[in-house]
Amino acid sequence: MTGDLNILLAGFGGQGILFTGKVIAYAGLMGGREVSWLPSYGPEMRGGTANCSVCLSDKTIGSPLVTMPDVLVAMNLPSLEKFEGDVVPGGLIIVDSSIISKKVSRSDVRAVYVDASNIAESNGLKGAANMIILGRMFRETGFCSAEILDKGLQKSIPPKKIELLGNNRKAIQLGIDS
């Protein structure tokens, strides 16, 4: 896939929001695209919510702060409520429906519900809901090839934690199959 893709990932601190963004950004880089990754920082992170802007483009990236996302990943209710209105018409919202019971209220965007946290739990992959969501996002958008996505994942895991690669791969596959 080519063209610009602006992604906003949001949820609680500790859900792996920033890591998910990093995998997407690295996949973009491995695919030869321009990429940027911008986290929220400071008290809003410590107070519970974290979000992360990722831009993928074939051109030089202007503002790295995603204010009108093509894709919104919402992993908690405050994030869905805060950012739902910002998504571009025709955009995609992916919701972790294990955590958020509310439905997307807009009709001009595509809403996808993934029971990510429950799927993670029942497969012994607690804490990997983010990768399940990522797998599903990959399937919905095709923002890169499967091979490139895996390369992005490998690049994102520090060498000291390489034993986590297997579980992350498994979770991404569960997301693709969800």
Partner: protein
């Protein structure tokens, strides 16, 4: 040059400084700059360098003065309130003709302000970094790769002109990750500093590094000499990037984070058929007057877009000799403007709705 890696701006600054041969870092933690110091604390001990957290910013900048006087490549980094604390030391460094690198990852002010990105230290960096008649070289990167490139350049030019150089970054550029290619490692940048107080081994006289001159005529002579150097720098070291500026009727002037937002807005305006362009100062001192003056003929209006209350506006007016209206749009306090907001200003100006004449 190796493979591209994703790095945070703050980490990239640190790694670029190490690659440029910097082995001395003195600093004190403050958000959103702390990753620079944290990175240095991990790396310096492994490569035979010095990482030292001073008891305060005041101590740290004076350690920079000491190390710089001994002729080594030295740096510190902090965020806005920290620069205020360092002001005295920066003035001493300038008054002693000692090169060093100072990084300011700006946050909202005044006072303790906030911790979100800001550009409200423009005046401080370019006009009054401390007391007395002096200037610093000030560089404003807008991408993580440019941070890397400008760190090396800032060290080089600081050494060349024997003066402090600043990288004026902000919380957004410091915290974001982008692909970077790191430069080849450079060794022994300390060579060729015959002025340094690095030990004379009875082979030459003492080198004295000092900023105290009791005789006003002697002090005046030194300051005037320094200003001749500043004039030469203004002539040769101005740098800016021009984007779609050659035929532009509306020229945005913006640096750092706000220049990226502005670039997006320019693209949006061009899609609507509005002739907008961008001049992005890379050096804030010397201010790139030449790059602005050359567009004053065809531009109808200039728009300074900043994350402050408009601290750069006067410099833009002076650069074009007030020959065109210079308008301002900014957000401050840690708020980042959106491309849409900047586009609205461009559309307003395209309709001729100037606030100033």
């Amino acid at each position: 040059m190796g493979e591209k890696v994703l790095m945070k701006g703050n980490e990239a600054i640190a790694e670029a400084a190490i690659a440029a041969g910097c082995r001395h870092f003195f600093g004190y933690p403050i958000t959103p700059q702390t990753e620079v110091a944290a990175y240095m604390s991990k790396r310096m001990p492994k490569i035979g360098g010095v990482y030292l957290q001073g008891e305060s910013e005041v101590a740290s900048i004076n350690m920079v003065l000491g190390a710089g006087a001994a002729g080594v490549r030295v740096m510190t980094s902090t965020s806005s309130p920290g620069i205020s604390l360092m002001a005295e030391g920066i003035s001493y460094i300038a008054g002693s003709d000692v090169p060093c690198l100072i990084v300011n990852v700006q946050r909202g002010g005044p006072g303790l302000g906030g911790i979100q990105p800001s550009q409200a230290d423009y005046y401080q960096a370019t006009k009054a970094s401390g007391h007395g008649d002096f200037q610093m070289l000030v560089f404003a990167p807008s991408t993580v790769q440019e941070m890397v490139d400008l760190v090396a350049g800032a060290f080089e030019l600081g050494d060349k002109y024997r003066m402090p150089a600043m990288i004026l970054s902000d919380g957004m550029l410091g915290q974001m990750m982008e692909p970077v290619e790191l430069p080849e490692k450079r060794e022994n940048p300390e060579d060729n500093k015959p002025w340094a107080a690095s030990g004379h081994q009875n082979k030459r006289g003492h080198n004295v590094i000092n900023s105290l001159y009791i005789d006003p005529h002697e002090l005046e002579r030194l300051v005037v000499e320094r200003y001749k150097k500043y004039d030469a720098i203004k002539e040769t070291e101005q740098r800016a990037e021009e984007y779609l500026a050659d035929d532009a009727e509306i020229i945005i002037v913006a640096f750092g984070a706000s220049s990226r937002v502005s670039r997006s807005a320019v693209d949006m305006a061009r899609k609507q058929g509005i002739k907008a362009g961008l001049v992005r100062p890379i050096t804030l001192w010397p201010f790139p007057e030449k790059f602005l003056a050359k567009h004053a003929g065809h531009a109808k209006v200039f728009l300074s877009v900043e994350m402050s209350m408009g601290q750069m506006v006067d410099d833009v007016k002076l650069a074009i000799n007030c020959s065109r209206p210079v308008e301002f749009f900014g957000r401050t306090g840690g708020v980042i403007p959106t491309p849409k907001e900047v586009l609205e200003q461009i559309v307003r100006l395209n309709g001729g709705g100037y606030r100033c004449r």
